[in-house]
Symmetry: C2
Subunit: 163 residues, 2 copies
């Protein structure tokens, strides 16, 4: 039963972006690959950034803190019918952890500039991982309900359907 | 300052795998793509699994609970020198969140069978996301220090260097 024990997470940094509300935000970083934002890593974690400038893409794990409600069924931004939340990338999921793949532009001190933005300003960041194609790339055409709507991605923005 | 507030995470399920110790575990699921394991989703989250069977690959976010120590500099399994932890995929990172991309074989009730195993038995699972190439694939040759060692991946196992 210890498997079910909860635990405490401590943000390691925070996103600074142009999006002040959860409405009107790009769906996925791939939907806004040329937008620029910053990640401010808290000073006590900055030693962990060494060697990170060698990478082109980073995986950011975030806390989608503006998703007030966690629900098991949602109508995703790219669909019109209700889906099991684990078959979506919707923010209102248990634990509300987001995954954003971004293109690193520069690191100055503990401030990272990057391209590819789907996070609101003030989003807590939980982890940074280097994107390594040998680990992270899979080829598949089996993308479920996304197949009908994936073409809408560039330019698609969040609306107010999520609580 | 509210950006820095910690928060509580609740596992949504648990991994059942053949690895009972953190030594001798494959490095990344891509290093053991044909091994099979299971994810047991807790009953109260099973409604979130609807539609998930439509996908070939899933992203599992886990708690690498056996990494006793969080450190900002580590000697990664695929290297011999110390690196900033955020430039590695090492378990002993702040918040110890792991990312495993797995190939879904079947879903029976709330039990998922999958291929691609880099998790020890009992690993808490925090989230399940569908893998969607339009969101998740990037092409890059800039993989930093991994460039020297990525060829070792298939068959490489964890050793006892991580606390």
């Amino acid at each position: 039963m210890t498997d079910r024990a909860g635990f405490q997470i401590q943000p390691i940094g925070v996103i600074r972006s142009e999006f002040k509300s959860k409405v009107g935000v790009p769906i996925q970083t791939a939907g806004a690959p040329d937008l620029v934002a910053e990640l401010e890593v808290f000073a006590e974690f900055s030693a962990g950034l060494r060697d990170l400038g060698q990478f082109e893409y980073l995986i950011l794990l975030t806390r989608m803190h503006l998703a007030a409600e966690e629900s098991l069924e949602v109508v995703p931004f790219l669909d019109a019918v209700s889906r099991g939340v684990f078959s979506t990338r919707a923010p209102s999921r248990p634990n509300r952890i987001g995954l954003s793949i971004v293109r690193l532009l520069s690191i100055e001190g503990a401030r990272l500039r990057f391209k590819g933005v789907d996070m609101v300003d003030g989003t807590p960041v939980l982890d940074i991982k280097p994107y390594v194609p040998a680990f992270d790339v899979r080829k598949t055409d089996r993308i479920g309900w996304f197949a009908q709507s994936i073409d809408q991605l560039p330019g698609k923005l969040s609306d107010d359907r999520m609580r």
